[in-house]
Amino acid sequence: MTTLLKAENLHTYIGQYHILQGVSFAATQGEVSVLLGRNGAGKTTTLKTIMGLTPASKGTVMFKGTEITKKPTYEISNLHIGYVPEDQAIFAGLTVEENMRVAMRKEDDTTLERQEYILSLFPDLKKYWHKDGAFLSGGQKQMLAMARAFINEGELLLIDEPSKGLAPIVIEKVMEAMTEMKKTTTIVLVEQNFLMASKIGDTYTLIDDGKTVHTGTMEELIANDELQHTYLGIG
């Protein structure tokens, strides 16, 4: 088992606020690593710090054995790391097609074939292909954000709360797509919905007050009611 991404003792400030105060975790190639924790625990900031959007003041992020902590965001992305932000960040004034094109590193046959494959995972997007992103529903925006992050051959996908605000039927679709993506890509998933996380995740990292408090396999967390109760408020 190869470690693809390793975050060690991350500290991040946003303005004067010390949001991350020691987050550490590792993502193994081919697995889904889930970051869990309450609202405001620092999960989203952890992903942003990995992407260089809120750079760490202390600690390191290693990707395939190379330090990427201080790299600019676009260079991190060009290491084949896809990112689906919490708010989806769809370009509202661009059509679905244009949103996909912006993300393409190359507009060659391989990418266009890959696009066809992705659209088979998210058939809704095809229906709205020439519509502006502004007119999509929350679920469709989520699908577009995931499709966009997956359009280039990627090694790692960082996905922030894909189930947030979505109807159960849409969550099912997103889950199906992620299960398919998992076959070819390593995923780091931030999720509040424990049911969803437990179905797809291989390992977990519990974050509380900006610190890593527990890591392990998903089976261990499913079996540990006390941990679920203390850090996730379940039960």
Binding site: L53, Y74, V102, D132
Partner: protein, 286 residues
């Protein structure tokens, strides 16, 4: 009827010159969130460069190309030296770009002297066409055609090319564009240089239109361009065209019918737009 046609042609020609200045300004503001008060200085440099190149080469085409290149080079220098240190700070942007505007104007005096310089319309574009009682001045029509051509070319680039797509996406969400692997700073530089080149191009076209050029001419036009950007919607290219035409036509008609209000009319339009559509006529969806 002939009066209306003449006023309309005058208004459209002025509007197109303002559009060339405002279009760069609106892209720079929309994408980079930069308030560039030095933009008028680039317009004036374009006018001087155009006249100089025309005098040296005797070719108006080369004069326009020379002005565009001058604008692009000055845009490169401005972005690297003046804008880069103040990204994200509007107060500092206003102060430093206003200061640089003065520097650009004074530099014009250093290079070409403090006096006004006469600018001639090239022979091929001088004179006019008569259609009955209607007199169409060739150079004004030329400016109008060039203005629409520039608009068409840029609309094509923005709508149909990858770089245009990236610029439009950048106007909407810079952070996400970077997260998709695009070096936004390089895009910023390219947009800034393009905006500066457009301003200089506008200046070079303006020179024969007004007949004389002077170092402070940039500031006069920059104010109009800012008004146009606000009316059209910050970051909107079509908005800039529409607002520039509106301002040009309003100025032209008011100068004839209510001369006392001709200078105030632009402000009045801006106030009305701000009251009823504070985001401008064309809102850029965020």
């Amino acid at each position: 009827m002939e009066l209306w046609i003449n006023l309309t042609v005058n208004g459209l020609a002025t509007g197109m010159l303002i559009f060339l200045l405002a279009s760069g300004l609106t892209l720079i503001f929309g994408l980079m969130s930069v308030l560039n008060f030095a933009h008028g200085g680039l317009f004036a440099w374009g006018a001087y460069a155009g006249v100089w190149f025309y005098t040296v080469t005797n070719s108006f085409t080369l004069a326009l190309i020379g002005a565009i290149l001058t604008g692009a080079v000055l845009g490169f220098i401005t972005e690297k030296l003046i804008i880069t240190p103040v990204y994200g700070d509007h107060v500092q942007q206003i102060l430093i770009t206003l200061g640089f505007m003065i520097v650009l104007s004074e530099m014009l005096k250093v290079v070409w002297g403090p006096n006004q310089i006469a600018a001639k319309v090239p022979p091929a574009l001088s004179g006019s066409w008569e259609f009955g009682d209607v007199l169409i001045i060739k150079y004004r029509l030329f400016i109008i055609i060039i203005g629409f051509l520039v608009f068409g070319i840029f609309q094509y680039i923005l709508k149909r090319t990858k770089i245009g797509l990236i610029v439009r996406a950048g106007v909407l969400n810079k952070e996400m564009v970077q997260a998709l692997g695009i070096n936004i700073k390089r895009v910023f530089l390219l947009v800034f240089m393009t905006g500066a080149a457009l301003a200089a191009f506008g200046g070079a076209l303006m020179a024969p239109y007004s007949g004389v050029i002077y170092a402070e001419m940039g500031m006069d036009f920059a104010i109009l361009a800012f008004i146009v950007v606000v009316i059209g919607g910050m970051g909107s290219f079509p908005g800039s065209l529409l607002a520039a035409i509106l301002v040009g036509l309003a100025g032209s008609y008011m100068a004839y019918y209510v001369p006392d209000l001709s200078l105030a009319v632009n402000m009045i339009i801006m106030v009305i737009v701000l009251i009823f559509r504070p985001q401008g006529l064309f809102q850029v969806k965020g």
